[in-house]
């Protein structure tokens, strides 16, 4: 009886994402988007109806109660997502509350707020695989709209937009430093066209399954460059967008990923214990590694879904990225630009991006003297 109650309570741990009506990656994305919104002060920011987009809101007698109702709907929905109570209904309610707040107050409209509303609502409407397809389509439509609108703006094409924004309004140190070495408006025009071309590339990359991984990393780097140049994180948009790329992740079923560590290495045993403790969904089965003494073993091997093998830094990252508990502090950091000095925050974000960037793992593997030039699978045999 006690055990059943404990297990039932454990199902509602916010760090668990498996075993609900939503795929774990989608549920995790919704939880993290809600976290970003809370950290950015959206609970208090939800306004009462004022200059609404739909005049219906002006007919409601008590604007203060409408605001309270929307705040309650948003918070209740978000908590239902966090605690795995009714994640689909909760996500829809939280997203709908944001959308209603936008429709009720024109001043509340920002692209970031609408993005979070749409993502949460689409999460709430998830059904089978079609739901995930539609969530991915949301990104394709967003980048298509963004690229097309910019392409049709003359100031974006001839560089006047970037020159005025970065050169005059932002006083971007980086822009002001590079621009004098180049012909007039060259840098601004190049930046404008590279953003337009980059966004059109994302439309294609995020729509084609084979290119989605490249698309996601291109988007992450593009947006990080953009917050570097702009010296602002566009309120909730940057952090919510980054975590919502989880909808493109291939999330394995619990217990289908095997992790191999060499028992003699204290650091690897420690990492196994650390990861096991955080792995509330039971994603990874840890096993000892058979070491071929003739050649040095490769540290930390993780056998992912579809037979993928990760080793070295890639294995470390692959393990960390399967643990929802890891995402919470990282998301809090990315959403905390308003409480940390901006340059420090930016440095931390760049460190995170570069740490998890696939090329970093690849370079680390090539430079590591322990890896050798051969296939790491040949140096050690996983022992089931």
């Amino acid at each position: 009886m006690e055990l059943a109650r404990t297990m039932s309570l454990a199902r509602h741990n916010p760090l668990r994402c498996a075993g609900t009506a939503l795929p774990p990656n989608l549920l995790l994305a919704a939880k993290l988007v809600f976290l970003c919104l809370v950290l950015k002060g959206y609970v208090r920011a939800i306004p009462e109806p004022f200059l609404p987009m739909l005049s219906l809101f002006d007919q409601l007698p008590r604007p203060d109660l409408v605001r309270l109702g929307l705040q309650t709907m948003f918070v209740t929905g978000g908590l239902a997502v966090w605690f795995n109570l009714a994640p689909r209904l909760g996500a829809f309610a939280a997203g709908a509350a944001l959308l209603l707040a936008i429709l009720g107050a024109r001043t509340f409209y920002t692209n970031g707020t609408f993005f979070c509303a749409a993502l949460l609502m689409l999460t709430g409407l998830y059904q089978d695989r079609r739901g995930l397809w539609l969530l991915r389509a949301q990104f394709v439509v967003m980048y298509f709209g963004s690229a097309l609108n910019k392409l049709l703006e003359p100031d974006w094409r001839d560089g006047r937009y970037f020159d005025h924004w970065l050169g005059t309004l932002q006083g971007s140190v980086l822009y002001d430093w590079v621009d004098p070495f180049l012909p007039p408006l060259f840098l601004a025009t190049a930046l404008g066209w590279s953003v337009i071309a980059g966004e059109f590339f994302l439309v294609i990359a995020l729509a084609v399954p084979r290119l989605q991984r490249a698309g996601v990393w291109t988007a992450i780097v593009m947006h990080t460059v953009s917050v570097t140049l702009a010296q602002q994180d566009f309120s909730v948009f940057f952090s919510a967008l980054l975590v919502s790329f989880l909808v493109f992740a291939e999330w394995p079923l619990p217990g289908t990923v095997a992790g191999y560590v060499e028992a003699r290495r204290a650091a690897e045993k420690w990492f196994e214990r650390f990861a096991s403790r955080l792995d509330l969904d039971g994603m990874i089965r840890w096993m000892p590694l058979n070491v071929n003494a003739a050649r040095p073993p490769h540290p930390r091997l993780v056998f992912g879904p579809r037979g993928r093998v990760y080793h070295g830094l890639a294995a470390l990252n692959a393990t960390l990225l399967l643990l929802p508990a890891v995402y919470y502090p990282l998301t809090a950091l990315v959403a905390a630009s308003h409480v940390i000095p901006y340059k420090l925050w930016l440095a931390a974000v760049w460190c995170l991006v570069l740490w998890f960037f696939p090329a970093t793992s690849w370079l680390a593997s090539r430079r590591s003297p322990r890896t050798g030039a051969g296939n790491p699978d040949a140096t050690c045999t996983p022992q089931a």
Partner: protein, 120 residues
């Protein structure tokens, strides 16, 4: 039929939400307001609002209370967003105030322009 609806209402509603944005992207070609069409930071608009009610110019705080928007600011959306707020307020909540409003603005460092309420 009922079973079909029961099985597909979620994807249908989700597809409707995505399609709505596609429609708004097309609509944005004919409407300068540009809501729900993914036009963030398409323009940088510097603007200032001057409001006269009963011959007196409203202060910064009074202007904020009137439009919930600053007296002077920078808006990365279409300037129509600012003009629409003023227009909508003066047509509804403030229609009996007889306010005279002047919005001066420039887009992407271009020439300064002026917009007045009541509109000519």
């Amino acid at each position: 039929m009922m079973r079909l609806v029961q099985r597909n209402w979620r994807p249908a509603l989700a597809a409707g939400l995505v399609l709505f944005q596609v429609v708004m992207i097309v609509h944005a070609r004919f409407d300068p307001r540009r809501y729900f069409c993914w036009a963030p930071h398409d323009a940088q608009n510097e603007y200032g609002i001057e409001v006269r009610v009963g011959g007196r110019v409203l202060s910064r705080e009074e202007t904020w209370a009137r439009y919930r928007d600053p007296l002077q600011g920078l808006d990365p959306r279409s300037i129509e967003h600012v003009l629409l707020m003023v227009r909508q307020h003066e047509r509804t909540y403030g229609k009996n105030d007889g306010a005279l409003v002047r919005v001066t603005y420039r887009t992407n460092g271009g020439p300064w322009r002026e917009w007045n309420w009541p509109e000519p």
